[in-house]
Symmetry: C2
Subunit: 216 residues, 2 copies
């Protein structure tokens, strides 16, 4: 059964691979599972057909036979549970890898998203210049804690896992910013993720979809 | 093996049961698993001993034999995977319940936390009055989408699950606000959660811990 994924027809990131379908593509490439894509316009994302699949009108979704899932965190975990390669066999190590998924999505990512929201939506507001450094300090605190925990290890807890996949995907949102560059071990960690063959294949696939849509 | 949980010695919510240990207590009560608590001062949460358990210096943590976990999302999922009662047996329904955990924590909760951060930390700022309604509209959008999906069902997808436990815990942060009261079916959903015997037992236990610490 080949799963089908939804993604933006034209990702607002301009093909940089930051939309959340990239995390699902990466997971599928890591485990060697083929997939098909269904690209949606912003209009189609708000229509009843898509809302039946994704109540919040977002991408990605995942359909596989009778199963329809939403939330990239849940989709990546589902893939990791049903294929070898993204979660350890040892049950305690497996639970810890899942803890890193939640740490990435619920502790590290929210302040990074807040900074992006401010940059997109509050740039012309009177408070932007005063508030941005407050947001950046919130990110800096989390990155410092993460950097101390990672130390000089390659991955967060033993072998590469779905926890690393999510954490690196979150950190990629900060690629090229001083915030990330202040933590050299996190920069190297991100590069280790980006240079995995599965990441490269997923990245090229999303870029090809973006480029094809932009050419139409 | 009796698991041990950490929580705030004096919760900043004044005993309203909004700290994230409450979600773990509730899950343990639902499955009938006894537990012990270890209450931490804010100072102890930033010390090396706790940071070894929880790299971001937060509560709760979960220790059970050789296993040490952090992130309430991961802890509740761990409990739900190892005991009956919080996840369906059918594998597709189980994956969908896990999707609701992620929806609660990564789609619905972040804008609610942002509003709380603004109320706590930006109340004296010049921009507070203009920015608060923007934050409330972000919450209103998510609650409207959730309300439409829930409709007149009792729970989000079939029987009560760990997905409902997390979603109701998130919505409780808005209890008594007009934001929640604009969605009568979500108010009723929250009440259905709060009146479960397991929720009541967990709530009373956290309140007893808070009251004991406040009396010292």
């Amino acid at each position: 059964m080949i799963p089908s994924i939804t993604a933006f027809e034209r990702s607002p990131d301009g093909g940089r691979g930051l939309a959340r379908d990239m995390r699902v593509r990466w997971a599928l490439e890591e485990v060697g599972q083929a997939y098909t894509m269904r690209l949606l316009s912003f209009k189609a994302m708000k229509e009843p057909e898509h809302l039946a699949l994704q109540p919040f009108g977002q991408i990605p979704t995942y359909q596989e036979g009778d199963l329809a899932l939403f939330e990239s965190g849940a989709i990546v975990l589902h893939i990791a549970e049903r294929h070898a390669g993204l979660l350890p066999h040892d049950m305690n190590a497996r639970a810890r890898a899942i803890a890193w998924i939640f740490a990435a999505l619920t502790t590290v990512e929210p302040p990074i998203v807040e900074r992006e929201m401010a940059i997109y939506f509050e740039r012309s507001k009177s408070w932007y210049a005063e508030r941005l450094p407050i947001l950046e300090d919130r990110i800096r605190k989390r990155l410092g804690e993460l950097s101390r925990r990672l130390g000089d290890a390659d991955w967060l807890d033993g072998d590469f896992s779905a926890g690393d996949l999510q954490m690196i995907s979150v950190l990629l949102r900060l690629k090229g910013t001083p915030l990330l560059e202040e933590c050299p071990n996190l920069c190297a960690y991100v590069v280790r993720g980006e240079t995995r063959p599965a990441y490269r294949r997923a990245f090229e696939a999303q870029l090809a979809d973006f480029t094809a849509a932009a050419g139409r």
